[in-house]
Amino acid sequence: MSAAATRAAVEDFLFHEAELLDNWRLNEWEKLLTDDASYYIPPNDDLEGSHRTTLFIIADDRERIRQRVIRVLDPNCHAEYPKSRLSRILGNVRIAADGDGFVTATGNFIAHRYRRYERMGEYVGSFRYILKRHGESFLIKERRMFLKSHELGSLGSVSFIL
């Protein structure tokens, strides 16, 4: 049995993930995922809904994540060509649960997306991760991003990995 997860260890892991995502190092990012990982963005107007009964923005299982990465790295993914420049700040990280080899971490994010020399989008919200203990670090079993704006509105789309 390992000792309780520390916030510093969780933050180190999440900051590393953020760096990979911001820099489109998505093949490396995929190595941070468990084989049954999932990635969710619920709709702005139903943040606590289930993807089985509510229309989400993104509800990817592991295979869909693999396909999403293939898609967004393809130069024919017009929504991300040329690639947006991304910068995300994570904060307010807390450990909500810790046991049986899994850690649930919550926090807030601000992600800036610069698009085609002209548009800046500010994606603001909170996150909830279910991390699987993996040696001294973690793997991501589930990542759920909650957008705080009432609607996606001027952000247009979520064509990068938020």
Binding site: P43, T54, H78
Partner: protein, 428 residues
């Protein structure tokens, strides 16, 4: 006002159709559209299933007008202008909810959910002529429905909705036939996003199958990776693995009607859905065959259709069913609202499959829609040269009009532009 002239060059002898690009950039034209299109046509306001219980309401903007779409205590559905008769404030600030009354936050006038003015604080200060019965919330000139789809019309002289919808009802019925009880519902979760492009570009994009191989090559790749077999186009003019048609439904309405290759959660299995889905999908198909007969059931299961109800309602019965509407917020910006639609009695697993299939293509995180948005924004950017490069070339498939028109032709796009040009007072 713009002078009377045509926005299209429509030369059927030569087979030439050109569109004046000013339609996407002119502020004057946008003002005229609000008057001649959005104040004259039947405009989609909401679906009855959004108001399940008495007292349920939804507020939204329709054709630029803030409305309350509400079900009163007796179950009747209303469309009320969300504007206080006193000094003009909106009387309901919630997006959705359940309420018997809407109270204006400014001076406290309250209205019943059928629109009647119920209470005015300090009523004794008003003169005798003050008559509450004449001060209910105003409403659009007309408000009618077809099988759960509610439309408003701001023109008191408008033809009845059913007459306006004309042949589109056949295609609405085909969507609703998915449901054994004939009842579909809007599912929770709304997708609302802006596109920095003229609203009419979304009409074109919603039915234009010519763009699929290029705009959506990553989606086609994803389908292939997921085990969907896609043969190369077999006939001249085709760009997709199966044949599809563009169909004129009259009065500016039109649809595509395609033999399906991309799977349908009702009830055409593709490997993407997984082996485990097969028995239930077979059972759904069997129910459809039993209920509708083999021919109609095949239409429901094995064809997909993108329907445009003029001017701005799209019902895509494709990878899933989406109801989509959009309004101009300036010449180069539109606001899009999209919902998923499903049979009310659907099982939990079929519902989950429907929602998952939706996300394979549609929506702001889907594998295709973000690229559509990008394409439309690229058009709007390119149109900045409109004064020196005036006309869009839209003649694809011309010369064969009157016979079979393919989904990848521009026949249906021309139908839209002819109707739009006529309503805007452009010469024929």
């Amino acid at each position: 006002m713009t002078a009377s002239r045509s926005y299209v060059i429509d030369d059927r002898e030569k087979g030439l159709f050109l569109l004046d690009r000013s339609v996407h950039v002119s502020e004057d034209i946008l003002r005229e559209e609000m008057e001649k299109i959005f104040s004259k046509c039947w405009i989609y306001a909401g679906h009855a299933s959004e108001l399940k219980k008495n007292g349920d309401f939804v507020t939204r903007k329709v054709a630029g007008r803030p409305i309350i779409f509400s079900r009163d205590q007796k179950g009747a559905i209303h469309c009320l202008f969300n504007t206080c008769r006193h000094r003009g404030a909106i009387v309901c600030a919630d997006r959705t909810g359940n309420a018997r009354r809407f109270m204006c936050a400014y001076h406290g006038w309250s209205y019943n959910n059928d629109g009647a003015l119920a209470r005015v604080p300090g009523e004794d200060a008003y003169p005798e002529a003050f008559d509450k019965s004449t001060l209910g919330l105003k409403r659009p000139a007309k408000f009618e429905s077809y099988r759960g789809f509610w439309f408003l019309n701001l023109d008191p002289h408008a033809v009845p909705l059913l007459e306006y919808l004309g042949k589109t009802t056949d295609y609405i019925d085909l969507v609703i036939d998915q449901s054994p009880s004939g009842e579909m519902e809007i599912l929770p979760g709304t997708q609302e996003y802006d596109v920095n492009a003229n609203w009419k570009l979304m009409v074109e994009n919603s039915v234009d199958d010519y763009h699929l191989p290029t705009t959506h090559s990553t989606w086609l790749n994803f389908m292939r990776n997921s085990g969907v077999v896609m043969e190369p186009p077999k006939e001249k003019g085709m760009v997709l693995p199966t044949k599809g048609y563009a169909i004129d439904l009259g009065a500016g309405h039109f649809t595509t009607d395609n033999i399906n290759f991309r799977g349908r959660p009702v009830a055409k299995w593709i490997p993407l859905y997984g082996e485990a889905a097969r028995p239930e999908m077979d059972a759904i198909r069997a129910e459809l065959m039993e209920r509708l007969g083999p021919e109609r059931a095949a239409r429901v299961c094995d064809t997909n259709r993108n329907l445009v109800i003029f001017p701005n309602l799209v019902i895509n019965d494709g990878s899933s069913v989406t109801v989509r509407t959009f309004y101009p917020e300036g010449v180069d910006k539109m606001h899009v609202t999209a919902w998923a639609l499903g049979p009310v009695e659907e099982s939990e697993s079929a519902r989950a499959r429907r929602l998952d299939a939706f996300l394979t293509f549609y929506g702001p995180g889907g594998f295709a829609t973000p690229d559509d948005v990008e394409a439309l924004e690229m058009v709007q950017k390119g149109l900045a040269n409109w004064q020196d490069d005036r006309w869009s070339e839209m003649s694809r498939g011309m010369g064969r009009e009157g016979s079979e028109q393919l989904n990848s032709d521009e026949f249906h796009l021309r139908l839209f532009w002819r109707k739009w040009n006529e309503m805007m007072g452009g010469a024929a």
